[in-house]
């Protein structure tokens, strides 16, 4: 018994630094959600003698007219991102797979992954410039077709769709890799047999490619469900401005503003807590479903 423990001890020691880190930087902040139930005064400290207010902060937020709007924006933006973020890469991976020329295939891949690696600060800067109504190249281009200037980042009718389109633009390369990898795993013999049986391109796509990667499609859809309340803080923060709060303010940016700019710590934490609880439920269910339908296990 003791000998076994001695043999194991180094393993426990190895885990120690990592454990200390997550306790300090993940678990202590988790305990900090108690701020949601306090009238928090920063000077007294996280574990100081704060005034407890029960569910007041939650009640206050739920009664804000902007809260419903923010929740709606979050759900609208993120669900469109999720749906398009699943379908568009799927279509592109199938198109890419159909390409006969390897040179074009590789060049296309290289081009479409690139935006994925750049930060939203860099891409935000690029988008602000090219989408600008005054001298932005996109509006100039649209002008050639007689389209009048569109203020993509400053108009509430356009802003959410600009967010969705630019998010898909940044990320579809990533999804395409995943699908493409799955397609590569399909037995080429199936295609050969189908060709002999007289199947054309569409038959093969419908009856071999899509069923062949069905598991991956299910898996990605299910796992993305957990992200429903994450409409993309990095992106929105770098692209929005007061004139599009109405259509573009999401839970995370809302928390940032009421919490850190207006110093309403308790209220902001309540919103964050609300979001975390729903997200936790969504992520847990999505992992459960992923295991159920695709035998996916994280460990």
């Amino acid at each position: 018994m003791r000998a076994k423990l001695r043999k194991e001890l180094p393993l426990h020691l190895m885990l120690l630094p990592g454990l200390v880190m997550i306790i300090l930087f993940s678990y202590v902040p988790m305990a900090g959600v108690m701020i949601a139930f306090q009238k928090f005064i920063p000077a007294k400290g996280l574990f100081g003698d704060q005034k407890w207010v029960g569910l007041d902060n939650f009640e206050y937020v739920m009664n804000l007219p902007s809260f419903t709007q923010v929740l709606w924006n979050t759900l609208f933006i993120s669900s469109l991102k999720l749906i398009l973020g699943l379908i568009i890469p799927l279509v592109f991976s199938i198109l890419l797979n159909e390409l006969a020329s390897n040179v074009i295939k590789r060049s296309v891949q290289t081009a479409i992954y690139l935006p994925y690696f750049l930060s939203w600060v860099v891409l935000g800067g690029i988008l602000i410039d090219i989408l600008s109504p005054s001298g932005g190249i996109v509006n100039e281009f649209l002008g050639w077709f007689g389209v009048s200037k569109i203020f993509f980042l400053g108009d509430n009718d356009w802003f959410p769709f600009t967010l969705i389109a630019s998010d898909v633009w940044k990320n579809f390369g990533y999804g395409t890799i995943v699908y493409l990898a799955a397609i590569t795993g399909i037995d080429p013999g199936l295609y050969e047999a189908a060709t002999i049986d007289g199947a054309n391109r569409w038959h093969k796509t419908w009856h071999i490619t899509i069923p062949g990667i069905r598991m991956v499609i299910v898996l990605l859809s299910v796992l993305s469900l957990g992200q429903l309340l994450n409409a993309g803080f990095d992106q929105v923060f770098n692209l929005y401005s007061p004139q599009v709060y109405e259509s573009g303010d999401i839970l995370d940016t809302f928390v940032y503003r009421i919490g850190l700019l207006d110093a309403q710590y308790g209220v902001a934490t309540a919103v964050g807590f609300f979001k975390s609880i729903i997200s936790l439920t969504l992520i847990s269910s999505s992992y459960f479903l992923a295991y159920r339908f695709a035998k996916y296990r994280i460990f």
Binding site: M14, P17, G18, L19, M21, I22, L24, F25, S26, P29, M30, G32, V33, I35, P42, L46, L96, L99, I104, V108, Q109, A111, I112, L114, F117, L118, S119, V121, V122, G124, G125, I126, L127, I128, D129, I130, S134, G135, I137, G154, V178, V216, L219, L220, F233, D234, N238, Y240, S241, Q243, D252, V255, Y256, L260, Y265, A268, F273, S284, R297, F299
Partner: protein, 292 residues
């Protein structure tokens, strides 16, 4: 190989669509680069498309003459210099024990859950900020590297990689008298070089691209990493509290070339590393997404 046919209209259409989409992904970046190398007059007048007009380094000279630029560059490099080795070290130290079977490591599943939970739930922005403030980490480089010191996602990738390593290798080492630390260092790490390279790249890109923590946790702009600095220069000046008219005015008088050059400099390391990134990331992404 599919047999060569006559003219294949659909294949040509397909290739055309894909090439157009590829252009859509890179042209915006090329446009920004072109603007950054153009004279500010031609840039403001909107003459620049995909090639610089009146080629000049002026905006780069100006940007690089700013001490803030070099300060923040130094912060970013320090961040990568400390953050990436720390991420790798902790990933290895956590992944190795967790890759063992439950009978070889007591409480394995407790440990695994402890790490996994941090991926599922967090305290949210305000508690996180308050905690770091109470630790006295604000305005310190440690605020940028310690909170993310254990990248749990990388741990998951690496522990699955470790599991693929034949058991016999490890048993042989243990019989020869090597302890666990020795086994990790002399056997697991060398075998896992490709996986570790992937994770190192993940970590470097993550550290390079992070901007929000810098903005939030560094009170003194001198401590901003490069992306946070660019965020304040390029984005905040453009968008914050500006009416539509003011924005139109600013677009006319502001130095577009200057902003473009900063955008380009902010993405330059990524673009330079891109050939390596792409190769390794594809492996990493596939591993992380569709394992099993």
């Amino acid at each position: 190989m599919r047999p060569k046919k006559r003219f294949d209209g659909i294949a040509v259409l397909n290739a055309t669509v894909l090439i157009l989409v590829s252009l859509l992904c890179i042209l915006p970046l090329i446009h920004i680069i072109a603007v950054s190398f153009s004279s500010s007059a031609s840039a403001s007048a909107g003459y620049v498309r995909l090639w610089p007009v009146d080629f000049t380094f002026a905006s780069y000279m100006y940007t690089m003459s700013r001490t803030e630029f070099w300060q923040s560059m130094l912060v970013s490099l320090t961040r990568i210099g400390i953050g990436t080795p720390l991420n790798l070290l902790l990933t290895i130290l956590v992944a190795y024990p967790l890759s063992k079977e439950s009978h070889a490591l007591r409480f394995r599943s407790v440990y695994a859950w402890a790490f996994f939970v941090t991926m599922l739930f967090n305290g949210g922005l305000i508690p996180w900020y308050t905690t770091l403030k109470e630790y006295g980490l604000l305005d310190s480089i440690w605020a940028l590297v310690l909170p993310g010191a254990v990248p749990v996602f990388s741990v998951v990738l690496l522990l699955n990689f470790f599991r693929e390593i034949p058991k016999e290798l490890e048993e042989a080492a243990l019989i020869d008298g090597a302890g666990h630390f020795r086994t990790v260092w002399s056997i697991f790490v060398p075998i896992s070089k490709p996986a570790l390279a992937t994770l190192a790249l993940f970590s470097m890109v993550e550290h390079w691209n992070s901007w929000f923590d810098g903005l939030l946790l560094m009170g003194n702009p001198a401590n901003y990493p490069l992306q946070s600095y660019i965020q304040t220069i390029v984005i905040q000046q453009n968008l914050s509290n500006m009416s539509r008219d003011a924005m139109l005015d600013l677009a006319l008088i502001s130095d577009r070339t200057l902003k473009s050059s900063q955008i380009f400099l902010g993405s330059l390391p990524i673009i330079l590393a891109y050939p390596f990134l792409q190769k390794y990331f594809v492996k990493g992404i596939v591993l992380g997404s569709v394992k099993g």
